[in-house]
């Protein structure tokens, strides 16, 4: 890829990661921190990290994110209320889970589901796809 082609891609994409805000809902602190780092490294803005359903709902009420990464099980609580709210508001999201996809309600079958641990840049690639933005250069 030439420098010119790269510049063209960025110009063509009406959206870039730079101004996209992502919410991370994850109860395992190290994973939440690592994902936040990864997103920041790729020029996303991390709206916040929420370890519980109630915290996540409060954050969404404060400001709608552009996309969200959802752990399916938060300290024994189901993520469903968060997913339902995001769906209602038209915010795209992906599931990030230690359980399989069949653990999820069929209602959310359209959302991508990444199994823990997620290799390399698959998380970033999937978030980019959700937001319909080109993967930004690091």
């Amino acid at each position: 890829m030439t420098i010119q082609a790269n510049a063209l891609t960025a110009a063509q994409a009406t959206n870039t990661a730079t101004n996209k805000r992502v919410l991370i809902v994850e109860d395992e602190p190290l994973l939440a921190m690592a994902m936040a780092d990864q997103l920041s490294d790729h020029a996303f803005e991390v709206q916040g990290t929420a370890p519980t359903v109630s915290r996540a709902l409060a954050m969404i009420a404060q400001a709608l994110p552009d996309a969200a990464i959802l752990d399916c099980n938060l300290r024994g609580e189901s993520i469903a209320p968060v997913a339902e709210l995001l769906e209602a508001k038209g915010v795209p999201f992906l599931f990030h889970t230690g359980y399989g996809k069949n653990h999820l309600s069929p209602r959310f079958a359209a959302a991508p589901c990444l199994a823990k641990p997620v290799p390399g840049d698959l998380l970033i690639a999937t978030v980019c796809k959700l937001l319909n933005v080109a993967p930004p250069a690091r």
């Binding site: 602190p29 921190m33 990290t49 370890p51 300290r75």
Partner: protein, 473 residues
């Protein structure tokens, strides 16, 4: 008084003083002598009329009159009783009458038939009593008993009762089914006589004696063994024993028996599964460690692997404690001791631990274990365990916050460190000690680089970090 009524104008009794009437009146009984030859009452005592609701004795009384008072459903009863009495000589009936004031009463009669020498019945003499109260009490008793019987028999749990010699008084269908014996086969037998394969009956009898003596129930008892229902198959039951009282006395022991064999098997399967999962996760950690070790080539990478392996070990240790406690919480004391196990020789001297017994939640155990691991590693490299005069004081206590409620507050305080270096860049250890704990435990964390050692302080809501039981395990 002393008015003996006879339709033929003369009385068969001589009662001028009226004593017979008084006695009959006091006993509440009426007498009626019926003349079969004339089809009319030969004699009635005054009480007889009041039984039928009259305040005053009536002048005229015959068999039809009596029959008129009997409620229609019971008229046959009297007819049959009389037919019987004419052959057997004995009259006995119990029937309902409707009194003159419309009140329904139960009347019982006992009588004899007098026969002529040729066998012709002459008279029937009947003693009549009002038995309404007795009938009512009996009916209530029968009804209550029937209800108790139904409850006892239909109960989906085993119910049993024993006398003071531990002999079965009664078992319900479910307990008989559990034991695999007919209900009747239990009665007057001790459990050891009919259920020889129930384990530890002597110990059970010992406790039963206490129940009889103290009157205190003995609850949640697990009983194991085999019964004739499934010979040779060891089953389990959850049983509750309680004293059966009669007034102030304890006259026996009652039991509620619930089969728990299936539940026990499920628990056992779950335990094995949990063990397997733990085993596999520990294996997985070992494989991860091996992969990282094998991937390291340069000396820089090998130094990284050493740090990584230490952290992995710390993680595995905290996992071990959780599994040992069946994920029901870890003692804070033990958790710290396990993370500092390499420096056991300093415990009580250079390392002082002080605080009440605290049972950490499974959720809090892992982040705290990681934190203590990082503190310890830092101490060995740069802090109190890196120089001869260094000391570490680990303290914790519970405190009340007006807004947040009960809080667990803990500190790691190093002293006697010759030269404290404030790092220019915060590494992973710093993040674990601050950010991670804040996130995982809603904790307030402070990490200060004081003059003679670092001071780390954490305050977290007790409902997040501590098991509800609070303390002693």
């Amino acid at each position: 008084m002393g008015r003996i009524l006879g339709d033929d104008g003369h009385s068969p009794f001589s009662d001028p003083s009226g004593r017979l009437d008084m006695a009959l009146d006091a006993a509440g009984i009426g007498i009626w002598i019926f003349d079969l030859t004339q089809e009319k009452a030969h004699y009635r005592s005054p009480r007889y009329d009041t039984l039928f609701g009259y305040d005053e004795p009536q002048d005229l009384w015959n068999r039809e009159m009596t029959e008129r008072f009997i409620v229609p459903e019971d008229r046959d009863v009297l007819q049959e009783a009389i037919t019987q009495a004419l052959s057997s000589g004995v009259l006995r009936f119990e029937l309902r009458i409707k009194r003159a004031n419309e009140e329904i009463r139960w009347i019982a009669g006992d009588g004899r038939t007098a026969f002529a020498p040729d066998g012709t019945p002459l008279r029937i003499s009947v003693v009549v009593r009002d038995v309404t109260a007795e009938r009512g009490a009996l009916q209530q008793y029968v009804r209550a008993n029937a209800l108790l019987d139904a409850i006892f028999e239909a109960a989906p749990v085993g119910l049993g009762a024993w006398d003071e010699q531990f002999r079965f008084l009664r078992v319900n269908a479910r307990l008989a089914e559990i034991n695999g014996l007919e209900p009747a086969a239990h009665i007057n037998k001790r459990p050891d006589e009919i259920l020889p394969d129930i384990a530890g009956l002597d110990a059970v009898y010992e406790r039963w004696r206490t129940v009889l003596q103290t009157g205190n129930p003995w609850l949640n008892v697990e009983v194991r063994g085999a019964t004739p229902a499934q010979p040779g198959v060891v089953r389990t039951w959850l049983e509750h024993f309680y004293p059966i009282r009669s007034g102030a006395d304890i006259i026996g022991i009652g039991a509620v028996v619930e089969e728990t064999t299936q539940k026990r098997q499920q628990d056992e399967r779950l335990r094995l599964l949990l063990e397997e999962v733990n085993h596999r996760s520990k294996n997985m950690l070992a494989v991860v460690q091996m992969l990282v070790q094998q991937s390291a080539r340069t000396s820089e990478e090998r130094a990284f692997v050493a740090r990584f392996a230490d952290r992995l070990k710390s993680l595995a240790d905290s996992q071990d404690l959780l599994v040992q406690s069946k994920w029901s919480g870890v003692c804070l004391h033990e958790l710290i001791a396990s993370q500092l196990s390499h420096y056991r020789e300093f415990m009580g001297t250079r390392i002082q631990m002080q605080g009440p017994r605290v049972q950490l939640t499974a959720m809090a155990a892992q982040p705290l274990a990681m934190a203590f691991h990082e503190l310890c590693t830092n101490s060995v490299k740069y802090g109190a365990l890196s120089c001869p005069g260094g000391r570490i004081a680990i303290d914790w206590h519970l405190e009340e916050d007006v807004v947040l409620g009960s809080m667990l507050s803990m500190s790691w305080r190093e002293t006697g460190v010759a030269s404290v270096v404030t790092p220019e860049q915060h590494g992973f250890g710093h993040r674990v000690l601050t950010q991670m704990l804040q996130y995982a435990l809603d904790a307030k964390v402070e990490l200060n680089f004081a003059q003679d050692g670092i001071v780390w302080m954490l305050t977290a809501p007790a409902h997040i970090v501590m098991e509800p039981s609070g303390g002693a395990s």
